[in-house]
């Protein structure tokens, strides 16, 4: 096959490309330039957009003996990922830009351009496995290395696009193995540090980045009863579940720490409460992508489907969080309702914010993905359990 290997300049994508070459594919390395204003880019070794990274990607292509190009996708990135990032925070929600980047850039702009140029697939260094389902369609499964597993941020990609994707690192046992393999292959990036932060936020200072955009917007911090307990400089700086940075003058009546329960942009209020109030019993999420024909999501698209059953599954709401036992049912309008297993001893979800990506798994397999629009506290949902 003719394959575009996305080369970020990091060790994972370099080894993935090397494995694609070994597999006999005709591989061309492509580094995506995602920011037009090079001055704003970090100069360290992390992230995906610095000049150093582009140079490292080029050197990896040299070592592999493959052609190398830089594709400028900065305008598209700005219009989708960065614009969405600002809009979501402005709306009091918590976006995941990596999910949006996979959705709009890597597996849309990059993939579509590659296909139009005559390539067959895009290869990335993601840790996830692609398996062929019973009907021949492609399924995303968790990586062999559960610590590095990235199926969560890939779950937004549908099977048609996954069929045009390659994740050669899905079966490696650990990141150390990838580094060792890179060193063996003579790839200079073998010891390069991992990237964790948002690539377009310099220094990883998300708060400062948002503040530079939105400026100060002072407002009240209130408790669940609406009593003012403090002040803030901008509600966009707060995320559900956050404890740090709450300027609350008076101790809470129970003397226990306070957490952000909700961000309300219309009234410019941040609602705080106790840890117990963060526990989530149920989630409603929008824009459901249901990727499997062979697993029925009861009620999907059917109004008044309460008589239908539930699908037992597991739910994950953070890239590096654990999945919890849950049950799911479709709602009209491409939405889904997920209830978290409240049995004693079951893992709970705490502090889930609107905007986060909800991924439903059946074992290791990604079943579907949606965007959290609302949550219900655990006490409010006991009545509908059964």
């Amino acid at each position: 096959m003719r394959v575009v290997a996305a080369l970020s300049g990091g060790v994972d994508s370099a080894v993935a490309a090397a494995r694609a070459v070994d597999a006999g594919h005709e591989v061309v390395g492509v580094h995506m330039a995602l920011s037009r204003n090079r001055d704003q880019l970090r100069t360290g070794s992390r992230g995906c957009c610095s000049i150093e990274d582009a140079g490292d990607a080029r050197r990896a292509a040299d070592v592999l003996g493959i052609p190398f190009y830089v594709w400028d996708l900065s305008e598209r990135f700005e219009d989708t990922v960065v614009a969405d990032f600002f809009a979501e925070y402005a709306a009091g929600r918590t976006p995941n830009p990596c999910v949006r980047c996979n959705e709009h850039i890597k597996f849309e702009a990059l993939l579509d351009k590659a296909l139009a140029l005559g390539f067959d697939a895009v290869c990335t260094g993601h840790y996830a496995r692609i398996e062929r389902g019973v009907d021949g369609s492609r399924e995303i499964h968790r990586a062999a290395d559960l610590v590095k597993d990235q199926s969560y941020v890939l779950a937004v990609i549908g099977p048609d696009r996954i069929a045009r994707s390659m994740f050669p690192l899905g079966d490696v046992a650990s990141k150390e193995d990838v580094r060792a393999e890179a060193a063996e292959r003579g790839l200079g990036v073998s010891a390069k540090p991992d990237s964790y932060d948002i690539c377009f936020v310099a220094d990883g200072d998300t708060h400062g980045f948002l503040r530079a955009r939105f400026g100060a917007r002072p407002g009240d911090i209130v408790d669940a009863a609406g009593r003012v307990v403090g002040a803030h400089d901008g509600a966009y700086a707060y995320t559900v579940g956050q404890r740090k940075g709450l300027a609350i003058g008076h101790p809470a009546p129970d003397g226990k720490p306070r957490y952000v329960l909700a961000v309300q942009p219309v009234t410019n209020r941040v609602v705080v409460g106790s840890a117990a109030e963060l526990a989530v019993g149920a989630i409603v999420a929008d824009d459901l992508g249901w990727w499997c024909d062979d697993v029925v999501l009861p009620g999907a698209g059917e109004p008044g489907a309460e008589h239908l059953g539930w699908l037992a599954c597991s739910a994950q709401v953070r890239a590096h969080g654990a999945a919890v036992s849950a049950r799911a049912r479709g709602l009209p309008g491409g939405r889904v309702r997920v209830e978290i297993d409240a049995a004693p001893g079951a893992d709970r979800l705490r502090g889930v914010a609107p905007g986060q990506s909800l991924v439903l798994y059946g074992g290791t397999r990604v079943l579907g993905q949606a965007t959290v629009s609302a949550t219900e506290r655990i006490t409010a949902t006991t009545g509908v359990r059964g």
Binding site: V28, P67, W71, D72, S74, D112, A116, L117
Partner: protein
């Protein structure tokens, strides 16, 4: 590289003498350098003492812009304006703007017309308004992207009235159009080795002896104190041999290349829907044929240059598709990270931003043949069609 230049370079590499040393090996090296200097001067219509050897065209351009600015301003502190065309190479533009940031210069960009030719009326107006405050004018002999030959005679005539020194970057012109430094009336001129089949990292600034030229590189005082640094004897010899060969071949080569280029232009226009020729049209009117005749210092186009935009295409797609089909060409310049940058030349010519993205320059040289043009035309229509589809796929929606 030309085989004569390779031979000249490699045959010198074993000689260890430093051209500034007085021992026998040093004297031999000096003799080689001075012969190279004489050969360069003879080929370019200059005196040997006017040749300042540099490590390439960029260094020569930097020396010209910075050295002339500082030199002229030292004579007359009110001269702080640097007048350059908007389509100069970055090796001229960037030093000029750097001088604006660091040395109190004021940069005046001369506008160009739709074919990339500078507006002499604008220069006349600028000089009439503020001639006594201009430190230097730098206008390239011919543009590296769209091949436009600039009306340097007019520039020199206007500059003389106000005592302003004129520099021209002639890197693209050597071996393509007749270049005679003395006849040009220029005060300084940049030439480069690698564009004429010489070694990379060789070049020279031709500069009149009476010119106030402040050094940029300080040290041992080589090259009349203007450009310090141990002389690259093998490089100088090879560079001179290459320039000499290019100049000797030029009359026949220019005729051959212009015919090949005109054929390429006609066939691209016929076979690739939507293609737009940028720069002077050599197949109609005044411009093109003049570049191959003996009196071609006037407006025209380099005989080996063709430049097109293909609306709807991205340069990197065109590059990849042509490269994978075995055709090497250039989309313009890339930034440090490798992102294709929109051409400031095309933008100065008034080309729309979207159109400027799909630019391709075809450079024909002494090794180019009709077969190369045939090969290009065999793949180009399909390449453009495919690149257009890819452009739609990755465009902002």
């Amino acid at each position: 590289m030309r085989s004569v230049a390779i031979e000249a370079l490699t045959s010198e590499l074993g000689n260890t003498g430093n051209a500034s040393s007085l021992h026998a090996a040093g004297r031999a090296a000096r003799r080689t350098v001075e012969e190279a200097r004489e050969q360069l001067a003879a080929a370019l219509g200059a005196r040997p003492s006017e040749v300042v050897l540099t490590a390439g065209g960029t260094e020569a351009d930097n020396l010209a812009v910075k050295g002339l600015f500082w030199g002229r301003r030292a004579q007359d502190p009110s001269r702080r304006r640097i007048v350059v065309s908007a389509v100069e190479h970055h090796a001229v533009l960037d030093p000029a703007f750097w001088m604006a940031g660091c040395a109190g210069a004021e940069v005046v960009l001369l506008p160009v017309d739709g074919e990339g030719r500078i507006d002499l009326d604008a220069l006349a107006a600028e000089l009439d308004a503020s001639g006594p405050t201009v430190a230097l004018i730098s206008v390239m002999w011919a543009n590296n992207e769209v091949g436009t030959v600039q009306p340097l005679d007019g520039v020199v005539a206007l500059a003389r009235r106000y005592g302003v020194p004129v520099h021209a970057d002639a890197v693209q012109a050597i071996g393509q159009v007749p270049v005679d430094f003395a006849a040009s009336g220029l005060d300084a001129m940049t030439v480069s080795g690698h564009k004429v089949g010489g070694p990379h990292g060789t070049g020279a600034l031709l500069a009149r002896r009476a010119l106030a030229l402040t050094p940029v590189l300080h040290g041992g005082g080589q090259e009349r104190g203007v450009r310090s640094g141990t002389l690259d004897t093998p490089g100088a010899r090879s560079f001179a041999v290459a320039v000499d060969a290019a100049v000797r071949e030029r009359p026949a080569q220019a005729v051959r290349l212009a015919a090949l280029r005109d054929d390429l232009i006609a066939r691209v226009r016929a076979d690739v829907p939507g293609s737009v020729l940028r720069g002077p049209d050599p197949t109609t009117g005044r411009s093109a044929r003049g570049t191959v005749g003996p009196d071609s210092s006037g407006p025209g186009r380099l005989p080996g240059n063709a430049h097109f935009t293909f609306p709807g295409c991205e340069g990197d797609s065109l590059l990849y598709l042509l490269d994978s089909a075995g055709v090497q060409c250039s989309t313009g310049s890339a930034c440090q990270a490798g992102v294709p940058q929109l051409s400031h030349v095309l933008l100065a010519m008034g080309v729309d931003v979207r159109d400027a993205r799909g630019a391709l320059r075809f450079s024909l040289g002494r090794t180019s043949t009709r077969g190369d043009v045939d090969e290009l035309l065999a793949v180009l229509p399909g390449v453009v069609e495919r690149a257009r589809a890819a452009g739609l796929a990755s465009a902002v929606r």
